[in-house]
């Protein structure tokens, strides 16, 4: 079976105003990588878990930057949250995506969850529940490329690429070259 997430249903360039271009994303991820290392005082015991779809390539990019700075290969995995969503019953059942926990597991580690957009906070809540069934990290932190506000739950990010004030009616679209034909963040 393929471990790749399904191809993005929306091809082409999203509508609206560009908020981050390719270079902005690269700079934001470099800063986030340094912040993670600074906060953790090095790369010891770190595990990066991306939330599918677009959190996974972001986690890989952060790991590559950490490897470049510290010379340490940080374990990277993916954590699917489909079956932990609190709105599972409101939509037609979607197939789960791939969960891959690095061989060392997450017990006693510092896990950094990586996602593209932080919005209501419900995805992060689901991710915390999903992690509960897999192991017990010492510390869990959250890194996101974009924080667009409007939280429904008492959840905040530790590392943010860009704070993006938005209206609830607006749409934020993230595209990454690993999964999409373009790269950037748009708001419309």
């Amino acid at each position: 079976m393929s471990a790749q997430p399904p191809p993005s249903p929306e091809a082409g360039v999203p509508e609206g105003r560009t908020v981050l271009d390719e270079r902005d994303i690269a700079r934001a991820l470099t800063r986030i990588s340094h912040e993670i290392l600074e906060r953790n005082k090095g790369a010891a015991d770190l595990v990066l878990l991306g939330i599918p779809s677009r959190g996974v390539p972001l986690a890989r990019r952060v790991a590559a930057r950490i490897a470049a700075v510290e010379g340490v290969e940080v374990p990277v995995g993916s954590l699917d949250i489909t079956m932990y969503r609190d709105d599972l019953r409101k939509h037609p059942a979607r197939g789960p995506q791939h969960t891959e926990i690095p061989p060392g597991g997450i017990d006693g580690r510092t896990v950094v969850l990586v996602d593209d957009v932080l919005y209501s906070g419900r995805t992060v809540r689901a991710a915390l529940d999903a992690m509960n069934d897999i192991g017990r990290p010492d510390v869990v932190r959250l890194a996101v490329l974009v924080d667009r506000g409007h939280r429904d739950l008492p959840i905040r990010a530790d590392h943010v690429g860009k704070n993006l004030p938005s209206a609830r009616t607006e749409r934020v679209a993230v595209r990454l070259s690993e999964l999409d034909d373009v790269e950037g963040v748009w708001i419309s």
Binding site: S2, M83, K90, P92, A93, G95, P96, T99, D133, I134
Partner: protein, 311 residues
């Protein structure tokens, strides 16, 4: 997927692909310390079995439990049907308690289809007479897909008591749907009547000569000789059946060493399959069992988790 799983005819190749992808993830969950997902929390799944079963019933039960559904088993012997209650009354009584899915096995062909018209719950056919057993076909195809990398153009040989086999019917439909080339082999007395017309319409081959077919097989599935459904006279003696159609040690040598051997179970060792074949390195019989749980989790998930599923 539709609301019920009564026949392989109910699912499209896309549905099957979706079930397989989900099953692959569920397979990973099977290896975890905490084998529990919250997807079907608050849902109730009833296993209603009017015929004996070990693996189908227990794997549906485990599948439901690992998805956090409440699963309850009712067997024909322990239910009010043994006091003379009709199938319809039994099923309506259970449905009135508020169940979300009914996994059903019955000795009458078409029973699950009939029941699906009486109740609002999703009905999963876990074997109806000599008609179909779709979840078994899906897990067999899943096991083969994982082993062979895909079924397109692969030659799958089904051998055994085809007349009485619901596994055979569902498997032929499923394998052809996934692009496999299928040959079914049985003694003339155990070849279902009308198989000629069906094989021409559906596009599979029939044969009475196992030794001629085995060398080109990419996979071979042995089916159980169903003594309980035979009132005798299908073959002169068990020994004679084994000589003509059993997967014996000699026939094992005709197979490529990496050709997977399947058997949906329960096996009659020494009758349709020799111990050498059942326990061979290329046997995937226990893989079928573990795939059974993963595939049934995927089926329950896709039938019950989302909007529009039976509430």
């Amino acid at each position: 997927m539709r609301r019920h799983l009564l026949s392989i005819d109910d699912v499209t190749p896309d549905d099957i692909g979706e079930v397989f992808a989900t099953a692959a993830e569920m397979h990973d969950v099977q290896r975890r310390e905490v084998k529990k997902l919250p997807a079907l929390r608050g849902r109730t799944v009833i296993n209603l079995f009017f015929e004996d079963s070990t693996r189908t019933r227990s794997s549906f039960e485990i599948a439901g439990k690992w998805l956090s559904a409440d699963t309850i088993n009712i067997t024909g012997k322990g239910s009010s049907t043994s006091k003379g209650e009709s199938l319809r009354d039994t099923v309506l009584t259970i449905a009135a308690m508020g169940v979300d899915a009914l996994v059903m096995r019955h000795h009458a062909s078409g029973a699950a289809h009939q029941v699906s018209q009486w109740v609002d719950a999703s009905v999963i056919n876990a074997g109806d007479g000599t008609h179909e057993h779709p979840s078994q076909a899906l897990l067999d195809a899943y096991t083969l897909t994982r082993r062979l990398g895909g079924l397109e153009g692969r030659h799958v040989v089904l051998v055994g008591d085809l007349t009485h086999s619901r596994v055979f019917r569902s498997n032929v439909l499923c394998l052809i749907k996934l692009g496999a080339r299928v040959t079914v082999v049985a003694p003339p007395t155990l070849m279902p009547s009308g198989v000629g017309a069906w094989s021409r319409a559906a596009g599979f081959e029939t044969s009475y000569d196992l030794d001629a077919v085995l060398p080109t097989a990419d996979a071979v599935m042995m089916l159980r000789v169903q003594k309980e459904r035979m009132s005798g006279g299908f073959f002169p003696s068990p020994r004679e059946y084994t000589v003509g159609y059993g997967l014996t040690r000699d026939r094992l040598a005709l197979l490529g060493q990496d050709v997977p051997i399947l058997h949906p179970g329960p096996m009659n060792r020494g009758l349709e399959i020799a111990a050498d074949a059942a326990d061979a390195a290329q046997s995937v019989i226990l893989d079928q069992v573990s795939a059974g749980v993963a595939v049934r989790m995927a089926i329950l998930y896709h039938l019950l988790a989302g909007e529009g599923s039976a509430a």
